[in-house]
Structures are given as structure tokens and as C-alpha cells.
Amino acid sequence: MSRPTAPDLAAPATIAWLIEPRFPGGTSFAVAAEWRALRGLARPAIHAFRSRMFGTAPDTPALAEALRDMNLALQDVGGPIGADLVILHNPAFLKFETAPLPPILCRDLVVVTHENFLRPGGAPGFDVAGCLDRLDRATLAARKWLAPVSAINRASLRDWCARHPAPAWRIAPEDWFNICDLPRRPPPERPADRRGRLSRPGAEKFPALDQLDLCFPAHAGANLILGADSLIAARISRPHWQLLPFGALSPARFFDRIDFHVHFTAPTWQESFGRVIAEALAAGRVVLTDPATASGFGPGVIGCAPHEVDAIIAGLIAAPDRYGQMVLDGQAWLDRLSPEAFRARFLRQFPPPGRIAA
């Protein structure tokens, strides 16, 4: 194991990302977008930690593509990691680790908390204490930050820290939001009662069956459930449902076939952000979801309960202009999650070395 070199204050700042390159879904998209957004700000180094959580799964294509685009190399963790700033996305990947982590030497360690620390009701979402403890023991840093990705995520962190004092960690003052640089499409001129949902097939992503029935009733023109692997395996079906396994359609083709994205999860789980909701908005579709999830977005995402879904959809079908305006307003709100906005927020929290010295 080689000794880390001391930071050179005269040189450009260095940023090291410590990532698990096999995270599916939102985490990997956010990391790839983050590399692009911070391009040119510093000398980046990307360290891959292949954890026991993902076994022998291959790397996520989105990350490989970003690395290729930016001509970056992915280095397997083999020794100490040293940089001005070390960013670790989603500490949950450490939850099955038992061996000590490699030493991390930096000025700031930022741990982006893509998953809520607590579930609704206060139960831990994963072994947060174990993961943070492993990181804390491995890191020598002036500051260790927990960076929430959303207001909901922030509240979850605060609640967790209130119950489990963790003096080594500070909560970042601003959200480390997921960058959503998504192509925009116009809303349909005459929305119809075509409903659907897209999610990974995990049990936490689905509400109880009676709630799902309320969301996708027989009288709807279409009920398309993409990511219905567990329903298919359990032979749970309705004549008026079209169930497809995850990945059977591209998101673009999925959104072509619906006008309302109805997204409810198990009540004992809470989205920390909900990238698919942003994707639906960008694709020009109105989203109906639980009020807590909706609170993380602007117009175009309606917070409601499953039993209210029918009336809301009927109202919007009867008022297509209102539907269209909601979508456009929602897409305008998405600008807050742009790469530029992220870069500006990043620089506020982590100014270049020269400004620090000043």
C-alpha cells in the first residue's frame, strides 16, 4: 500500500469520487450527470468499490458511457484515496461490508445520501450507523458531510441524527440534488384516461393490491404497469391491466403509451427523490403520487391518495388546457435540477482553492 502524497495547494483542486459502479437507476444517472456538470473544475479521479451488495453484477452502462465520453478511467480501489474533496454516492452499498475500507485522506468528504435513512414511521432504511461508522473509521478529513438529495431526504437525515448522535458528520446546508438533464416533450393536446406506472420491481415500490386497483381501474382506457415482475411472478393480474417486466419498454416508448403517470409506493417506504417522476414530467405527462413525494417537485406532480386518482384524472381530461399548463409549469420547475444549477450550488459550497485561501 503506497503512502498518499500531501495535497499541493498550488495545483488545481482534486476531486475523487468513490463509487459503487453497479448501482442501478437514479444513483448512477446522478453520478454520471455530476461528472459532466463539474467538468473542468478540478482534476477528477474515479475510484470503484465493488461491494458485496451487488455480487458479480456488471457495471451500469450509464456510468461506462460517461467515463468514455469524458475520457476518464475507472480505478479499482487498491490503496488510500487522497484528494481535496472525496465524494461518495449512496453509502448504502457498504451495508454488507465487513472488512475495513481503504483509508480516505481529504479536506472534505461528502457522502451523498440517495436513500432515506429512515422509513416512514421511523424504522431505519438500512444499517446507516454501520455504514457511516465504517466510513468514519476509514477517513481522515477536516469535514465530513452528509449531503441529502432532497427535502424529504434531509428530513430523514435530521431525524436519524437526532436519534443517533453522530458528531463526526455535518448535514450539508444545501441539497445535493439529482441532476435531471432530460429532453423535454410537449404535453398531449387531448389527454385520455391512459394510465401507467414505471418502477423497478421491488416490493417497496408497490402499494397494497387494493390501492393498486384504485389506481388502475377497469374503466380506464389503458393501465400499463412496467416493472411488474413481482406481480407477474405471483400470477396477480387483472383483465384490464397490461403487465410488463422491468426493461420490456424504453422509458420513451412507455411514456408514449400513457397520459397519466400514477406512482404510489408501499406506505412503509418513501422515495427520497423519484427520478421517474422527473422523467414523466420531462416527457410531458402529469404525475399523480403521494403528497410527500409530490412535495419534492413543483407543478405537474399532484399529491393525492389512490382513492382520489379517478376524480383528478377525470378533471384533467375534461380540461386539457389545464393539463398542458401543468406540464409546462412542471417542466419549467425542472430547470432547478439542471447541470448549471448544480454546478453553481457546488461552487457555493466548495469554492476553488484560491478562494478558500482568500
Partner: protein
């Protein structure tokens, strides 16, 4: 209703649920196992134990669910839970021994996602108290059990993998233990089937599979448990040992490294070498069983693991009060299928029971008319059928019926050669007094020793003797074996003018009456013999040939074409035999002794099959004494020749003379009844 679910659909996980279900059901709780959570196909052993609990829960409102860890629930189990109609205040409890914090958190979360509500977590062990078997899934309680009086033989159970039996030293050690007159050895094994040679070497001391051992019932059959190793999935062994400890039984830890004792449980470190076990038992254990029981009762480790503590921890509803005590019943189970000889024997014994003893029956349909004609109530059992999904499906149903019919303290009387699996289980599970009636004269068979070894499940064995000494087994030493005289029907029904009634019934002259009772059914086809007898009788004017069978038996249609032959289905064959000039009969136990004791001239045609008694020896014993004639089962020419000789050559008169003067031993009907009743007093 309390539903118990595993975390995954697998045999070890389901077996752990069975062990917990058994604990809770014993405490009076209404427990159910979701059939969707059972692996398919469920092995036979688990199927019997699961049968009382398995339920289709669709449409039922569920108020209590207990899920056994130690992992997040699998998609199959999540589907089960999502399908439940949970009451608004339904309580969901997760318990188990989780390998790490993350697994515990993930397990809780998986349940929360599937049910939409937060489960309660219950540690499988009291805080700070190590588990007896860390790999076990279920929490264990120590149900209180009665202390045994230590004046008689002690039951010694030795738990080991089946492969240990193939070790010559271990096998020899077991055999040495089995010879001790003050010990009743019961090896209990698990894992791949034991080597046949090793099993054969053990003789009557055949091992039982651990999967056949209902944990909460084990303390009734165990004074000392010696554990030589622990299985990979140790829930059942854990349940067994906790039941033993709860009842103050001695548990000796002979595992490598004394892993059980390391938990702090009140078990004794014993020698790992079986050769050293006997001196250890003699010098340390047997003289101190009472003191050891007191030591166990005082153990703090056990105090936190009582059944009441578990029920409290699980916040279980109050169990239903136990059913009101009723007077004990003597329940007879004769095993017949087509024939009804066993039922006949049981009825004869039942009629000798004191008037104060309630006698009931559980029997197959072919026996029910006979039993009811004797005035006994009877529960119908289900016979085997090729239409059933498994060859043992009927036995599982019978197991459930018998389990419902029997109450603690009842006397269960089984008459038959093959002890059904259902019966074995009932004898272990239910607090019964048990009697096995088994006649002797077994044919030599490779597995005869193992068949007779099933007698260990019974408290008492009654062997109805044969009429002739050379047919009886030498006396058996050890165990509660009793020989009684032959079980024989008393006087036949009224036979006055019976031949006249036959004449009127059949519109046929009865100058000579020949009765054929050749058996048949599963054992052998007797159509040719009957045709031969019918042909012989056809040539004799005034001869009536009655082919007598039990109700329900089938006969070849060709018999109806004879003018002098008629078929009679009756449960009172004895009356017809009593008025016959000659009887042609198989030599089954009942008919043979009825013929002898009622002095009926007979030509025996033994019926032989590998699973039957040795009828040839029996017939030969009578023929050799001039009390009957016999022909071989395949000797049709001799059959007609002998029958002609009897009818025309004065042979019948000779037989009557010999029968009239021959001294037969006293019958054993009453003695058998007394032996059964003794156990009830």
C-alpha cells in the same frame, strides 16, 4: 388464528415453522400454516405433522402473523402476505436470529413493504442469554412437563447423524447400550439414509428419523437425551431438547467441543466416545436423575424461556380452554382392508371388556357393519385408493380423524401386522395408553425384525397364541409382552333349522352342505379353486355349495352359472360353518381357530403371500393331528380328490371324532380384555 410464515419457501424454513407451530398448538393456541409457504412436494414426514395446521387462508381475516427469520422474506412469502386480508389491528411479529444488523433491518423492511405496516421485532433469545443452537430459526420455549418416576426402565435417546451408524465403534456402542435391561435405547438420526448393513446390525433397536419426532411430545418418551452432533438445520433438535429440559430430563452434550453446554443451558458435558457413555451413565447420571432434574428446574438460562414467556413476548391471545375431561375410551383400530379378521378379533375382545369401559372403534368401511352388529360405535377410516395423489394420502386423513377422536388418557388398541405411520405418530404425540395386538406365526422376511421393532411405540403388546404350541414363538424377554390364549368366537348364532331356511331361501335341496371360505382379495385369486369345488358339487344331487365371503368382497361372475353353488355375503360365517357337512377354508387365524374350537370338519387350503402369516404351517399342524385335511394352495387335483374322499369315504366322521376328543387350550378373549383394562385403571 395465528399464522406462522417462514422467510422463504424451503424445507428447513418450513420445518422451523412446524416446530414453532407445535409449541404453540400444545399450549392451546389456534395455529395455521399457509399451504403456499410449504415447499412442494412436501416430504411425507413433514406432511403428517403439517396436516393439522395447513390451511388455505384466502378469504379469511387474519389477526396475528408470526414470521421466522433470519432473512428478508422472499417474493413467494411477500405474495402470501400481500394476499392476506389483514384485520386493521392485525399484529405482525418478526422473530429469528439475524446474522447482522443489516439483515435484521432488511428483514423488518421486507415485511413492512409486503404488509404496509411495521412488524414488531422479537428477539429469539432473552437478552444476554446465548442460544442453545445459534443456527436455529425459531424461538424455543421449554414447555412444562411431568417428571417421570424413575423406578422402571429409562428411555435413553441418542441423537446423531445417520452416517454415525456406519462407524463400527459407534454401532457397537449402540448395541452394547441396547442390551442393558434397565435402559430402553432409542437412536434418533438425521441426514442421508443409514447404511443398510449398519441398520441390520442394530436388530430391534432401529433408529427413528428426527423428522418423525414431534418435539413437544418427546419428553414422554425420554429420560436421558445424548446429543452426539447437531444438524445443519437444527430447529427440530432444538425443539426436542427444550422439551426435554422443560420436563427436567437429562440432556448430555456429547458434541465435539461441547457446543450446547457453551450456551449456558443446563446440559451436562458428556463423553464424545460412545464406549465411555455406559460408565458415565452408571456412575454420574443414573444415580442422580432426580438431582439433575432439580438442577435443570433452577437454571436461570431456562427461566427466561418458558412457554408463558414466549406467549407473552409474542403477545398471543389467551388460548382456548382445554376441552372438558371425559371418561377414557378404549379405541380399537383393526387394520383390515377386504377381510375383516382383525375387526372380528377386536370385537370379541371388546365384548369381554367391563361394562364400565367405553369401547369404540375406528375402522375401514368393510369392517363397519360387523363392528356395529356387535353394538360398538365406529369412526370410518379411509382406505387406500389408486385415485389418491399419494399412496399414503388416506393415512394422513386417518391420522387427522384419529387425532380428533382421541383424548389424553384414552387407551388405543391397534390390531394388525403393519403399524401405520399415522399410528406411530399418534402414539408419540398423544398422551395415550397403547396396546398392540399382534398374532404370531410370521413368515420369515428380511425386514421382520424392523416390523416387530415398531412395538416400541406401544406400552403393551398382546400376542394371541395359536392352538398348537409348535406354532407359537418362544417367550420374549423384556418389554411389556403378554401371551393370551387364542381369540375365538363363542357359540354361533341360532342354527336350529338353518338348513331348512337355506333350502327355503335358495329353493334348493340340502342333503349335503359344503361351505367354501377361501379368502381371496389382495392376497390371492381363488377363482379356480372355487370353480373346482363347484364342479364337484354340481355332480352331486342334493348338494348345496355355499361360497361364503365377507360383505364387500368380489366373486368371479362365472360362479353364478352353477346350479348347486350359491354365493353368500355375511358377517356370520360361523353359523353356516356350524351346520355344514364339510368346510373348505383358508387357514387364517380367526377361521382356523373357529373351526377347531367349534369342531367343524374342514379341508384347509392355505393362503400364502409374503405379507401374511404362515397358513401352511398352521394347516399342517391341524392335519398332522388328524383334526383336518389340507391340500397345497396350488394343488387343484388334490383338492377335488380330498374333498371327494371326505364326502364319500367317511373322512368327515373321522374328523368329527378326532375333533370331539382333542383338548384345546383355553381361549384368551377375556385375558386380552383384562390386559387392556389394566392399563386404564
Amino acid at each position: 388464528m395465528i399464522v406462522i410464515l417462514p422467510d422463504e419457501v424451503s424445507l428447513p424454513a418450513f420445518d422451523a415453522c412446524l416446530v414453532l407451530a407445535d409449541q404453540l398448538a400444545r399450549a392451546g393456541h389456534d395455529v395455521a400454516l399457509d399451504e403456499a409457504s410449504a415447499p412442494a412436494p412436501l416430504p411425507r414426514r413433514q406432511l403428517y405433522e403439517a396436516a393439522p395446521f395447513l390451511a388455505d387462508l384466502s378469504g379469511q381475516t387474519i389477526t396475528r402473523v408470526i414470521v421466522l427469520g433470519p432473512g428478508p422474506i422472499s417474493p413467494d412469502i411477500a405474495t402470501c402476505l400481500r394476499g392476506y386480508r389483514l384485520a386493521p389491528d392485525a399484529r405482525i411479529t418478526l422473530t429469528g436470529r439475524f446474522p447482522d444488523t443489516q439483515t435484521r433491518i432488511a428483514s423488518i423492511a421486507s415485511l413492512a413493504y409486503a404488509t404496509g405496516r411495521e412488524p414488531q421485532l422479537l428477539a429469539a433469545d432473552p437478552p444476554g442469554s446465548p442460544p442453545l443452537l445459534p443456527a436455529a430459526r425459531a424461538p424455543f420455549s421449554a414447555p412444562p412437563g411431568r417428571l417421570r418416576d424413575h423406578t422402571g426402565r429409562r428411555d435413553l435417546m441418542i441423537f446423531c447423524p445417520a452416517e454415525h451408524l456406519a462407524d463400527p465403534d459407534f454401532n457397537l456402542g449402540l448395541r452394547q447400550l441396547s442390551l442393558r435391561p434397565d435402559l430402553r435405547l432409542r437412536p434418533v438420526v438425521w441426514g442421508p439414509a443409514a447404511d443398510p448393513l449398519a441398520l441390520a446390525a442394530l436388530g430391534p433397536c432401529q433408529p427413528q428419523d428426527l423428522a418423525d419426532l414431534p418435539p413437544s411430545a418427546v419428553a414422554r418418551h425420554c429420560d436421558i437425551a445424548v446429543v452426539c452432533a447437531t444438524p445443519a438445520d437444527p430447529d427440530r433438535l432444538g425443539g426436542v431438547l427444550m422439551a426435554c429440559l422443560g420436563a427436567g430430563r437429562t440432556v448430555i452434550d456429547a458434541t465435539p467441543g461441547h457446543a450446547l453446554a457453551a450456551s449456558g443451558a443446563p446440559v451436562l458435558r458428556g463423553p464424545a466416545d460412545l464406549a465411555l457413555l455406559l460408565p458415565y451413565l452408571d456412575q454420574t447420571i443414573l444415580p442422580n436423575l432426580g438431582e439433575i432434574a432439580r438442577f435443570i428446574a433452577r437454571a436461570p438460562w431456562l427461566a427466561g424461556r418458558s412457554g408463558a414467556t414466549l406467549a407473552e413476548d409474542l403477545a398471543l391471545p389467551e388460548p382456548a380452554p382445554p376441552a372438558a375431561a371425559t371418561d377414557p375410551v378404549a379405541l380399537f383400530l383393526p387394520t383390515n382392508g377386504v377381510g375383516i379378521g382383525h375387526a372380528q378379533r377386536c370385537c370379541l375382545i371388546g365384548r369381554e371388556m367391563a361394562a364400565t369401559t367405553r369401547v369404540e372403534f375406528a375402522a375401514f368401511p368393510s369392517c363397519l357393519p360387523l363392528i356395529r352388529r356387535h353394538g360398538f360405535a365406529a369412526t370410518a377410516l379411509v382406505p387406500r385408493s389408486p385415485d389418491h395423489a399419494q399412496p399414503y394420502a388416506n393415512d394422513i386423513l386417518n391420522y387427522l380423524r384419529l387425532k380428533r377422536a382421541l383424548r389424553p388418557g384414552d387407551c388405543f388398541v391397534f390390531d394388525g401386522g403393519h403399524v401405520f405411520h399415522s399410528v406411530q405418530r399418534l402414539l408419540q404425540e398423544c398422551d395415550l395408553r397403547s396396546v398392540w395386538i399382534r398374532r404370531g406365526l410370521w413368515q420369515p422376511a428380511p425386514d421382520l425384525t424392523r416390523a416387530l421393532a415398531r412395538g416400541r411405540f406401544f406400552d403393551r403388546t398382546i400376542v394371541p397364541l395359536e392352538a398348537f404350541d409348535e406354532l407359537n414363538e418362544p417367550p420374549t424377554f423384556g418389554g411389556d409382552h403378554h401371551n393370551v390364549g387364542p381369540i375365538v368366537a363363542g357359540a354361533p348364532g341360532p342354527t336350529d333349522r338353518l338348513r331348512d331356511r337355506l333350502r327355503a331361501t335358495f329353493g334348493h335341496e340340502v342333503r349335503v352342505l359344503v361351505v367354501s371360505m377361501l379368502g381371496g382379495g389382495a392376497a390371492a385369486d381363488r377363482s379356480a379353486h372355487l370353480q373346482a369345488i363347484a364342479g364337484l358339487c354340481e355332480r352331486r344331487p342334493g348338494c348345496l355349495h355355499l361360497v361364503v365371503t365377507w360383505p364387500g368382497a368380489t366373486l368371479a361372475p362365472a360362479l353364478t352359472s352353477w346350479r348347486n353353488t350359491r354365493a353368500v355375503h355375511t358377517t356370520d360365517a360361523l353359523s353356516l360353518m356350524a351346520v355344514a357337512d364339510v368346510v373348505v377354508s383358508a387357514a387364517g387365524y380367526n377361521s382356523f381357530h373357529e373351526i377347531l374350537y367349534h369342531r367343524i370338519p374342514t379341508l384347509f387350503v392355505p393362503q400364502m403371500a409374503p405379507f401374511m402369516d404362515d397358513q401352511t404351517r398352521r394347516a399342517r399342524a391341524a392335519a398332522g393331528r388328524g383334526l383336518a385335511r389340507m391340500v397345497g394352495e396350488n394343488d387343484l387335483m388334490m383338492l377335488t380328490r380330498e374333498l371327494t374322499a371326505l364326502l364319500d369315504g367317511g373322512g368327515i366322521a373321522d374328523l368329527r371324532t378326532n375333533l370331539r376328543t382333542w383338548d384345546l387350550p383355553p381361549t384368551g378373549n377375556r385375558a386380552a380384555a383384562r390386559l387392556i383394562e389394566d392399563r386404564q385403571e
